[in-house]
Amino acid sequence: MDFLSSSDFWFLVGTSLAKTIFLIFLVVLPMVSYTVYAERRVSALIQDRLGPNRTGFPLTLLGFKKDFSPFLGGLGQPVADAVKFLLKEDFVPGHVNKPYFWLAPCLAMIPSIVTLAAIPFGSAIGDVKLVIADLNIGILYIFAISSVGVYGIVLAGWSSNSKYSFLGGIRSSSQMISYELGLGLSAVPVLMIAGSTSLSKLTDYQIANGWLLLPFTDGRLTLSEVLLWIPVFIAFVTFTICMFAETNRLPFDLPESETELVAGYHTEYSSMKFALFFLGEYTAMIAGSSLIVVLFLGGWHLPFVPSGSMGGIAGWFWGIVSITIFFAKVAALLFLFIWVRWTLPRFRYDQLMKLGWVYIFEIALVNIFLAAGILAFAKF
């Protein structure tokens, strides 16, 4: 009771709220809408087109002299899309199961936002660590919550009462269950090397010993690090592949597969309910990329950039720099997601299952023993 009435408690509540609002509303949601924009522009560039390059900000409506269309053009497109989604008719077909039909978009959106809580997205500002909830089982929490996301898709497919949505929902559930195993097992070598499941401890380990994927970032390279790099690289590849499957991105987008299932599980959805599925998918992409950054790419760390744990102006400055570094890495991974999507064709369903159960699962399992062997015997 002493703690609850102390000023420390209110400081904790206040900073947590501030971090949550900052992360969700000022970083992730804008990032989601501009990822959609980037997706359209990059896909256009890959296909020798231009993409949306006209929508600016109509400042003339607000009484300014000129419209504002910054350097690339089309930067107002996400805003226009959001306004369009909000103003469209929210049509609920008569044949759907209404309670679940309403619940499904929320269940698709909420888990992907909630997973962001455990991710250390920056170093610190003064005494405040830049992670909303510094859980000591952070990675387990993320795996547990992100697998709840499948309920949104399954419920959407089932409650829509349409054959396309139903097939999409079934495919999605089997796909997510299969790849969850590979995802969890690929992360195990990393956890063994760092000796912790706390994501901020993982970041600290990588600051002290070099990023796991690039072990020379701490300025030295030992033989055991080179040996350990092999299982880490295998884990990185399998983890990234599983993350593609978890977020329903191509080449694993069988739940949606436009060519065969119209739009898959969200065929019957319109307006903001559809937008919630869309936002959920892209937020899951950002959460997944953040997890890859924390596990393999050193989190918010960049060599020679200090942590913002000193107080005052310098603390604020380096804290914000670390947030920028983190989300720059995330953005690079998001580019990889987009790039892969517009390069590879979709897998056939049996190929997808075979890849998940026969290859990824086995490789991840053997990789754990490989990493354990190197950790046990290679002491150089």
Partner: protein, 176 residues
């Protein structure tokens, strides 16, 4: 006769898939690079640049009515185009030319001539069937409107789009 297509024997490198995925990624990145450096030029900025100058002579755009060089309407309201029109876009109300008129021998002219551009499929059957060469498909292709009523082209609009068309037409010849 059915025959068996032998499965190709993949090398271990091909079975790994990853090299070909990397090759594919390199190929798409090449396109991005060529677009960004301006080497690819396949784009026409539509509303500003149009392909009108490149349109062929036989282009089938919006159907229009034409007048001859003496500003007389060619249409004799025979209604053949109305009957041939596959989507029934054309509606003609014929009118008799009064007997005291100079051209009473022509007998009929259209009182109303409406083409519903929402229905029109630009097939050109009306142009083919017209015995008086009065209806032509011109090169207008961007037919827009904000209401359904606006999308129905009446006689005045059709003549406006069609303009004047020279050529031999028998009905104005007094000897024929």
């Amino acid at each position: 006769m059915a025959y068996v297509v032998p499965r190709p024997n993949l090398t271990w490198k091909e079975k790994l898939y990853l090299p070909s995925i990397v090759a594919g990624l390199a190929a798409t990145l090449k396109h991005v690079r060529r677009m960004l450096s301006g080497q690819t030029k396949v784009i026409m900025q539509y509303p500003e640049e149009k392909w009108d100058s490149m349109m062929p002579e036989h282009y089938r755009g919006a159907p229009t009515l034409v007048k001859d060089h003496k500003d007389r309407e060619r249409c004799v309201a025979c209604q053949l185009c109305e009957f041939i029109c596959p989507p029934r876009a054309i509606t003609i109300t014929p009118e008799e030319i009064p007997s005291d008129s100079k051209w009473a021998k022509v007998e009929k002219r259209p009182k109303h001539f409406d083409i519903d551009m929402i229905r029109c499929i630009y097939c050109g059957m009306c142009e083919e069937v017209c015995p008086e060469q009065a209806i032509f498909l011109r090169k207008d292709y961007a037919i827009t409107g904000t209401t359904r009523a606006e999308m129905v082209h009446d006689k005045q609009k059709l003549y406006e789009l069609g303009g004047v068309f020279d050529g031999l037409v028998h009905k104005w010849n007094k000897l024929k």
